[in-house]
Amino acid sequence: MSAGGRVAAGLSVVLVSVYLLAVGAWLVITRRIPAPGLRRVLRAAVRPPYAGRLAGIRHETGACHVAPLPAHLLSDQESVSSLALFEDGRALGPAHAAHDDIRRLGGGRFSHWGAAIYFSASDGSDPGSNGRSYEVREQRGAKR
C-alpha cells in the first residue's frame, strides 16, 4: 500500500471508530441494543458473588441446553457475564460462546444470556439426564 493509501486507511479507521462509538452510545441509550442500567451494575459490584446448581434444564437445539438463572445477574446480553460453569467440578468453556456455536459444536461452550444459561455438556450428552452436576459461580475480576 502506498503512503497515501496508508494515510487514507488510518484516517478512515479514526473517523469510523468515532462514528461507531457515537452510534453505539446512541443505540445503548435508546435501548436498541442491550445494556445494563447503572444501578444494576453498582448492585452487582457490591453484592456477594452468586453460586448455584443448575436445575430445570431443558433441551434447546442441537447440543444446546438451557437452564434458568436469577434475573439480577449481569449477563452477556446486556453486559459481560462473570459466570463460570462447572461440570462435576470441572470448568467448562469457552464462555461467552455464540449460541449457534453451542448448538452446532457443543464441547462445553456456554453463554449466560438474560435470565438463562445456554450451555453444552463436555461430551455432547444431555446434561438433564447424564447424571452429572452443573454449577455456576460468579468469578469477579477473573480473566477468562
Binding site: I33, A35, D100, R144
Partner: protein, 306 residues
C-alpha cells in the same frame, strides 16, 4: 450441452415474458436489448441497492471459494444449508439466486449440475472470473425480483444468505417459486432472528451510510485486533454490543464477513417458523430443515401442481 445452451431457450424479457434471442453481444426481444458487457449478460442497468456487495465480492473474490482453499468451507456449508448431495444435483439445471463470488455455484457445478448464477450486484464479475472456464456455469447480472427466465425453468433453486438483503424477504422468495419446475426443489437460508442478528439489525442503518472503502478499512483494522485479544472480557463486551464473526477460517474470512454483515442496505431477520410458513403457504411440499441451522428450509414444488 453447455449451461448456456440449456439456458438460452429459457430466457425471457423480465416482467413481459417475451422470448429473447442472442444477437451478437446482446439478448434481444420484446423491443428490449440486454447487452453482454465483459462477457456477462446484463439484465439491469446498475447494482441499485446492493453497492456494498459489488465492492466486497470484487475485493474478496477468492476468500470463500473452495478452489482456492484446502478446507472446503463452502462445500460443508452448502451441504449443511441445503442438504444437497452430488448425486441429487448431477445433471440438473440449477439456479443460484444471489451468486456473489460464486462460492456455492462452484460447488454445485463441481458436482455436475448446470448452474445459472444471477446477482444484482457487480459481484457477477467476480463469479465470472472464478468460473468462466466451466461450461456448466452461466452467469448474469439480474434482479432476483425480476429474473429473465421462463416459468418452470429450473429443477433446483437455492438462495443462501441473499433474500434477507432484498427489500422484502418473503416477496422475493415467492418471486423465485414460479421458476421452479413441478416437482423441483428449492432451498434457502435467511438470517435468523437470534440475538446477534437482531443486534446487528440495529446497527445496519447507521453503518451502511459509511462509504464502503472507509468501513472496509476499519474492518481490516478492527478484526485482527479483536481476534488477537479474543479472551479479553472487554473484547467479549464489544462483541456483545457489536457482534462480529469468528469462523476460525482465517482473518480474511472474518474481515469479509464483518463487512458483509453491517454494510448492506437491507438486513431482514426471520424465525424458523416464519420461513417454514412461507413455504407451506406457497403450496410447497416436503418442507423441512435440512440441518440444525434454524432458518435453512427446503421444500418441493408439488407435482402435479395443486
Amino acid at each position: 450441452m453447455s449451461a448456456r445452451e440449456r439456458i438460452e431457450p429459457l430466457l425471457r424479457v423480465p416482467a413481459s415474458g417475451e422470448p429473447l434471442q442472442r444477437v451478437d453481444e446482446a439478448y434481444v426481444g420484446g423491443g428490449r436489448r440486454f447487452p453482454l458487457v465483459d462477457g456477462i449478460p446484463r439484465f439491469v442497468d446498475s447494482d441499485q441497492y446492493v453497492r456494498s456487495f459489488s465492492f466486497e465480492w470484487n475485493t474478496h473474490d477468492r476468500t470463500q471459494l473452495d478452489i482456492y482453499r484446502d478446507d472446503r468451507p463452502s462445500e460443508r456449508e452448502f451441504v449443511a444449508k441445503t442438504g444437497f448431495t452430488p448425486e441429487f444435483l448431477r445433471g440438473k439445471l440449477v439456479l443460484d439466486a444471489g451468486v456473489g463470488a460464486g462460492r456455492y455455484a462452484e460447488v454445485a457445478s463441481r458436482w455436475g449440475a448446470d448452474v445459472a448464477g444471477v446477482d444484482l450486484s457487480y459481484a457477477v464479475e467476480a463469479s465470472w472470473r472464478n468460473l468462466r472456464d466451466r461450461a456448466n456455469v452461466w452467469i448474469a447480472q439480474a434482479d432476483i425480483g425480476a429474473l429473465p427466465f421462463a416459468p418452470a425453468s429450473f429443477d433446483v433453486i437455492f438462495s443462501i444468505g441473499v433474500l434477507h438483503h432484498t427489500p422484502d424477504t418473503r416477496r422475493y422468495f415467492e418471486k423465485l417459486l414460479p421458476l421452479l419446475k413441478p416437482g423441483g426443489t428449492i432451498a434457502i437460508w435467511v438470517y435468523p432472528s437470534s440475538e446477534s442478528y437482531v443486534i446487528r439489525k440495529a446497527w445496519v442503518p447507521f453503518v451502511n451510510r459509511l462509504p464502503d472503502r472507509m468501513f472496509y478499512a476499519w474492518c481490516r483494522w478492527f478484526i485482527p485486533r479483536v481476534s488477537t485479544h479474543a479472551a479479553s472480557p472487554w473484547v467479549h463486551a464489544i462483541r456483545r454490543a457489536f457482534p462480529y464473526p469468528s469462523h476460525g477460517m482465517g482473518v480474511e474470512y472474518d474481515i469479509l464477513d464483518t463487512f458483509d454483515g453491517y454494510s448492506p442496505a437491507f438486513h431482514g431477520v426471520h424465525s424458523p417458523q416464519e420461513v417454514e410458513d412461507w413455504f407451506r403457504s406457497a403450496g410447497l411440499v416436503d418442507v423441512h430443515r435440512p440441518s440444525d441451522w434454524d432458518t435453512c428450509v427446503r421444500g418441493r414444488r408439488a407435482d402435479p401442481l395443486p
